[in-house]
Amino acid sequence: MNVKKNHISITIGWLYPELMSTYGDRGNIFVLTKRCEWRGIHVSVLPIDFHSTINNLRSCDLVFGGGAQDRQQGILVDDLREKKGPILKKMFDRGVPGLFVCGAPQLLGHYYMTGDGKKLDGLGIFDMVSKHFGKSKPRCIGNTIGKLPDGKTIVGFENHGGRTYLGKGVKPFAKIIKGCGNNGEDGTEGAIYKNCIATYSHGPFLPKNPHIADWLIAKTLEIKYNKKIPLEPLDDSLEWQAHEAVLQRFT
């Protein structure tokens, strides 16, 4: 297929934007959108919520999920698991990229065991389980730094009570250098399944990690157009200065 640049377009599916939005989560959407637009790639952002149809969700080339407060998560979790979960699984199996921040590792795995021993079913897309240890383990709050398999760094801010343990079906997203990461024990941070990333970094993860934003965009184009489309480089000096400042201050 011959793809002309001005015909390239992607649809970003934004899961429950009103409910899965706790602290600057939409920064990720802004960054993906602008970095596409600056390269002449057309973007539509499609909110996926209670009223969305199966075809709405299937039309998405990239999926984003932010963090939800407990009450908000309670409002949406059944709809997400039952009406969207199986379709999302098929999409991610097909290679559709995704980014899930904040409490995502708890939502995407097999289950989440609450502090008082209640077992809540997750979406079961990622081979991992999460557990809250009640008051015996403190909440993980603070700036984080991780190292990717290719040696590049990621920076973020975590704020979670639960701990996540990965199974064999997923790879860790990064090795944690500063902060708690998945569980504060095995040195892993987040998880990656096919082209879908789950991270405990919350809120605006992509603004200071432009390489991850571009990886997601490149994968999205590759899956959608079934071929590699090189991305034009952008001037990211400001983003990298902000990234470096975190590395210097917190290592």
Partner: protein, 420 residues
């Protein structure tokens, strides 16, 4: 009064005297801290003999509301004491008690997380709840967590306490509907102030009672507005005062809320409407809350902006003001600001690209510059705050929008003095 209590008061007063005399600080927290360590029950003991205690809690507007109430009460000739701005944990409240033990009226702003603990020690005559927005997630936790703790703490109060609640905040109205105490409401009731569309930074747009999406006939900002639930029996309360009754002495829609909260408090204390209106015209703003400072020929306007909703309202105020000039954003991530600066992505900078110039400074100036870049705004980074403030031309108006610790830094540079 036993020896331990007497000692606590004596030492607390001594620390207060030393720190203000030798200018180590303003004596806003340490005297109370010392007294509390010697006698942990001291707040309870001292407050037993005080008839009039007024607490003000909420995410935004605490300091200004307290200062407005104080202005109205002092105008009546009453003896009034309040805690220093931001010194709103138990040690700050205790320090204010120690500073002036013979006042008749004590007005305290109380930190959101501290309110339940304070209510264990004292029974106020009036509690004002201004609003609840996302703020310092790393410190306070989620909005709903605070609301739940408040509901539990306030449920213990009886008819001798009046709770004054912002009716336009659905979550606070929900708390009000569950209480045994007397509850009074204020709200704007002014459709001319509706925003053209809902902002992104909202927290309570699903019914706190049944969980279904609320409908809004209009919003004033964030989730404050004319709301309704189409599903359950939870209905908006009837307001006791609205924007038709009083005019705010300060610019900004949020200051209208502050003025209404203060006016309703004063009415509850049997002060007449005309006295309240008259007193409010004498109001001067608190430190950094729409405060104007003149320094080397420039007028500098400081608007504390420490969370998305407050920040959006600051930007709206700058835009609608006749004073045009550059805007300096100072973003810090110290403990009083919250270590997490994610919230800047919830601020709607996209609507304010037309300001003459943006400058950024503070610990997290780079984060702010990146945020502005994605809003289509090229900001100049000036790391040195003093330089940032003084690099402006004569006769220019400079708007400074700082976070909390940045506001203290800015004021120190401008006045050469710490306020806390």
């Amino acid at each position: 009064m036993n020896f331990r209590t007497k000692l606590a008061i004596l030492l607390g007063k001594f620390v207060c005297f030393i720190s203000t005399t030798f200018r180590f600080g303003a004596g806003a927290t340490w005297p109370g801290e010392i007294a509390l360590r010697i006698q942990p029950r001291i707040l309870q003991i001292l407050s037993e003999n005080v008839k009039h205690i007024i607490l003000v809690a909420g995410t935004n507007g605490k300091t200004t509301t307290v200062k407005m109430i104080e202005t109205i009460l002092a105008h009546q000739g009453w003896m009034v004491m309040h805690n220093a701005s931001g010194a709103n944990l138990d040690n700050g409240i205790m320090s204010a008690f120690l500073k002036k033990m013979k006042s008749t009226y004590y007005i305290f702003e109380v930190d959101e997380a501290t309110l339940p603990n304070i209510l264990k020690d004292l029974t106020p005559e009036i509690i004002v709840l201004t609003n609840l927005f996302r703020d310092q997630l790393d410190r306070y936790g989620e909005v709903d967590t605070i609301a739940e703790k408040w509901l539990v703490a306030l449920s213990g109060l009886e008819r001798q306490t009046t709770i004054i609640i912002n009716a336009d905040d659905p979550h606070l109205a929900f708390i009000g509907s569950k209480l045994a105490a007397k509850v009074k409401y204020f709200g704007l009731e002014d459709p001319s102030l509706f925003l053209p569309k809902m902002q992104h930074a909202t927290d309570t747009i699903y019914c706190p009672n049944c969980g279904v999406r609320l409908t809004f006939a209009g919003v004033y900002f964030s989730h404050l507005g004319k709301w309704a639930c189409g599903n359950c029996s939870f209905v908006p309360p009837k307001e006791d005062v609205t924007a038709k009754d009083f005019v705010s002495p300060l610019e900004g829609v949020y200051n209208t809320y502050n003025a209404l909260a203060a006016a309703l408090t004063a009415e509850t204390l049997s002060i007449s409407k005309s006295d309240i209106r008259n007193a409010l015209t004498h109001f001067t703003p608190a430190f950094g809350r729409m405060e104007t400072v003149v320094a080397s020929g420039k007028r500098i306007k400081i608007l504390l902006s420490k969370n998305p909703t407050g920040f959006n309202e600051s930007l709206r105020t700058v835009e609608s003001s006749p004073d045009k000039g550059p805007v300096l954003l100072v973003l810090n991530d110290r403990i009083p600001d919250g270590r997490d600066v994610s919230w800047i992505w919830d601020v709607d900078f996209e609507y304010y690209r037309n300001f003459s110039n943006y400058f950024v400074s503070g610990d997290r100036a780079l984060d702010m510059a990146v945020r502005l870049k994605y809003a289509g705004i090229a900001a100049e980074i000036i790391s040195d705050l003093t330089q940032a403030i003084y690099s402006l031309k004569e006769n220019e108006v400079l708007w400074i929008l700082p976070t909390y610790s940045a506001m203290l830094d800015v004021r120190k540079i401008l006045t050469g003095r710490k306020i806390l």
